[in-house]
Symmetry: D2
Subunit: 356 residues, 4 copies
């Protein structure tokens, strides 16, 4: 039972939202490879809160200190530990949570599992803040992947009822992945931004929140990566992506839509193109039998609405044993989907590098 | 890279469709517990082909021989190995597959990964037949779970455009789980069977196939099972369920529908009921922060249409390097969804028992 | 808790001495590599009992049936399962063991751990017979290692008070490893065989048994294999070798003798030899910091005397709760050291291939 | 390949001797248990250098900062991360090591494995300093074990030719384990201290170093802990103990001496004592078939002499490709055995808690 992932490149995430610090140990990184720390910080900045009004104004200094594994900008091969100190925490905002678990949060389930001993301040180990070290780890992994021509990019597929255009499943160029993987509000069709922001603002004004879907592409993967059954690409990616708080669904290629198709529609015909085997369509999301086929690997993750909303909510008082009403104070993102985009990319990077 | 699952109760599946036999080693089973082998065989019969016209008429004698780990009907604590011999195989039906990979199958990706050395007869290790040992393992695990009051049942949520009624997410009684987990064509509303069979028959007559969705419930789980992040219930179950061939999507609770909801709708209010904490709704599928909340654990798996269809399909000839047309002979299920129901239950059982 | 080993090439051993069969699943073998099954059987024959009077006359037909993972003589990449059927078992010889645990055996500890449900016939899962599938797995692994120039050979370093000459720690040629790894009574100085057999025969005549030490060399390993701390070569090999019943000590290089040396004696000086870095001595056994240095990897395993002896022994009667005397009938090896040589080699092969 | 250990309570050690800091993440600790941090620091003090003239005068401020997993003095259940900052490092002492690998050190093997990118200052990740976080982790684990009545204590069995008296293998009382597990120079017969210190001082005056053996006892373990084959107690402990730098041999019970015994001597007779099954002798070290028998678990670890000695040594110059002479400056322990005692105890604690 743990916050670790991977056999080849193991990541072990630690920390609690209002403790001394959070961070990650990454074990198995290849010695001698250079790391572009500016690019790592750029990824972390995409996740960091407080950048615009879709996000919480609480400010975190998410600057990681690397304690080991890096000499200058070169990986030493030893486990890399990065620590992000916790600052600017306002514990009093959360003072009533011990008694009244927040609906949609892990407060109650953690209370049961940890027999009341878990650090509840700010969500403790369950805080979305714990995705910062994941983004750090993913940013290093994606740099290693890029050296092999493998790129990872995601976009906001939808927020509430507003949709972006999907990836072209058989053709995703580097210009697009490059642009998306640097964007703070990643959209394929950037003209949809206003409509999405309006959807988020409407939720905020209603003291509410809104969910969405993130679509992620991994390009440049050769055919033959993965394994049958339990070590298939789908399972490896799903295990990492479900490790991101608020994700409640993962689908590959056409995913749930495949259930409505006939085999003659769903099967992706093979053909030779410039001497290389490709598929004409890509309903399978680049994965057959758990193994990549050389086409873009595509998946979508469903992100539930932020559970912290300002509206009064029905809950229980674990101290009194009575039903109760809860009002959550403090400021919270009405929509975490934009900030979750780099987190999903990071999860994908960590998963894919462990399958190579 | 492997066909193994689990840390506490490890299962290791082996075999190829037309090899000497297939089977499973299950390590970590508790000594002294009794196994009802008739109930195991009943589960395997639900998955076995040839029971009705929705399934392939090819007959398998799926009778497992237990080589170890069981003395009389009692688990000895040693690794349990069960072998199912392969019989009645008609390899000539597959004679052209080496050259021309079947669209939607693992033929091409396995060819690349295994450098052409994999056993292609009948799909080899990628055959749906390999789900038989998974059902065997799951049948034992579910018996152990039932002793703790934990029950697993799934139903055909949809086939093509025809839907069953979903589980009541907050109230699933044992009578229903009992009935479903024995049914060869598991439906909550049994009156839908004719419409579903008609959908399947229509696909068959069109030399085509059709996909569907399976919904699965785990009841009786106490609150507090699971872990945050990568060892959450979602990831554990997804890794097992994506190990089942043809599954391309997994969602928990309201899943992808959560993306369209507001937080005020998606958050499940807590309340006391007979001194026990329950939720009024169950959009989270019984899991918060990766940990069970004591409500029914609910998930759905998207199953793509059987890729083996009789229609001519476009593919490549790996020997000649030319584009080619493929006609698949032999008989194949036009819809594997009904037979996949016990497989999904088995995957869930194996996953859940490893989380306890 | 399990009978599995390895991350890259996982082996999972199953079976009980008097059950339906014993065997092994090997997952992660490289597709396309040829296996010389005659060479595998030759290794198994070295371990098999009944070859000469130092061994038990009980005959086993240790012929493995390969159910999967091999097509013709080529690895398919799917998990390889091999089964050895159990025959010629005389359960009545062991009829009293339930009540009276044999000193030096696992009877009592298994009884406690498995709450009396374990199969005690012939030692069940703890039987030395379970080393047959380990030798099978090791024989395949060593063939793969040999293709990379890595050879494994062991010899009887001592039986009771009779010693063989040790390996020359800095120079072990292929002619020696070749000869040893085929020998049924492996000695570097073959003139010691008579004295060793006399030591064993003396124990047999005294209704007793005798232990010994096995020394094993792995040659051809490049420098740089292994890892620091818990994944060092020493730990990886020790975990595999302590998996062999009766092994109670493992030491590398000069091992325990290093405790008596000064650093100036124990440090192995480096020097260039034909442009390659070598060490002048090899007290470290070819491992520094858990990582190979390119010299022969050397270790020794202490094997305790066979606990099954014909002399009356003091034990307890678990049924009556009284102290008791036990007489073990049936025939047992007075010394398992010669037959354990290929088992230690197999354990080393399985360990080393997982470190590459 | 990594610096991690354990499945139930996973420890992941990071850091390099002269980097930003070293530390450990411990995942899987039980929520709600109290930790006595003073007792943890007391264990770390036993390992810390500079306490007396047998140890290096280099001073480390080994004070760990706990970043997560602990609220007040109570475990929260989240991964616990402790960091020890690096201070007082004098990198210039090690300026020549890149060119000339130190005999007996990991310099050369790490250079090959990490392609020259590893941090060589002070031994980098291979430094003995990395045992400080292991002692920290072990100190927490042993507190949890003590709550179950399980105690761990080790002593200096020998240094060079000077021996302590061994543990009484069938009777070790809590007064002894208590005294030893607090001692900075742990001896059963404290009158041997002068002779041992003289042995160490003689080595120091000769610009040399000296090795030794540490004997460790785990008392209070119930019968039935462990597993057969590769998850036996011997393998679990050996993997942890061989993770300690300089350990080159591990033996259980009578260990290598068993090779010289007859079965009638080596078998430990069972008898009832106050209604409990005990053994009259304990040659097996409390382990039969990989499983504890309820007697003291006993093992010894061989520690090679410190490789850093002041005498000139023969080595190679990797830059010039010539043979060379090396003189190591700086101050180094002439004998690390006394300081290694708490490290071995820590390794045992981490191993044992993962077997329960």
């Amino acid at each position: 039972m743990s916050s670790t992932y991977g056999e080849k490149i193991k990541i072990s995430i630690f920390g609690e939202s209002h403790g001394g610090g959070i961070g990650v140990v990454i074990d198995g990184l290849p010695a001698g490879e250079a790391v572009d720390m500016d690019a790592v910080l750029a990824q972390m900045a995409r996740r960091a809160p407080g950048r615009d009004k879709t996000a919480t104004p609480r400010r975190e200094s998410d600057l990681p200190r690397v304690l080991s594994g890096l000499l200058g900008d070169t990986l030493t091969g030893a486990p890399l530990c990065a620590v992000i100190d916790n600052t600017n925490t306002r514990s009093q905002d959360y003072g009533n949570l011990l008694a009244k678990p927040r609906p949609g949060h892990s407060d109650y389930t953690a209370y049961v599992k940890y027999r009341g001993a878990n650090d509840i301040r700010g969500g403790g180990h369950f805080s979305g803040r714990l995705t910062a070290p994941l983004v750090f780890a993913g940013a290093i992994c994606r740099q290693l992947l890029e050296k092999q021509g493998i790129r990872i990019a995601a976009h906001i597929y939808s927020v509430g009822g507003v949709q972006d255009v999907p990836f072209d499943p058989v053709s995703i160029d580097n210009a697009l992945t490059e642009r998306l993987s640097r964007s703070p509000f990643a959209l394929i069709d950037e003209s949809r931004e206003d409509a999405m922001r309006a959807e988020i603002e409407a939720a905020r004004l209603a003291q509410d929140s809104v969910g969405g879907v993130i679509e992620c592409a991994v390009t440049g993967l050769p055919a033959g990566v993965g394994a049958p059954m339990f070590d298939g690409m789908e399972g490896a990616i799903a295990k990492a992506v479900f490790g991101v708080p608020a994700v409640k669904g993962v689908e590959f290629g056409s995913g749930f839509a495949l259930a409505h198709l006939r085999g003659s529609q769903a099967n992706d015909p093979f053909r030779f193109e410039n001497g290389r085997v490709v598929t004409v369509t890509n309903h399978c999301g680049g994965i057959l039998g758990g193994i990549t086929d050389g086409m873009p690997l595509l998946f979508r993750a469903a992100v539930k609405p932020t559970p912290s909303i300002a509206q009064p909510q029905q809950t229980v008082d674990l101290q009194t044993g009575e039903n109760a009403t809860l009002e959550i104070h403090g400021r919270h993102d009405p929509c975490i989907v934009p900030r979750a985009v780099p987190v999903i990319e990071a999860a994908a990077a960590v998963a894919v590098i462990n399958c190579l």
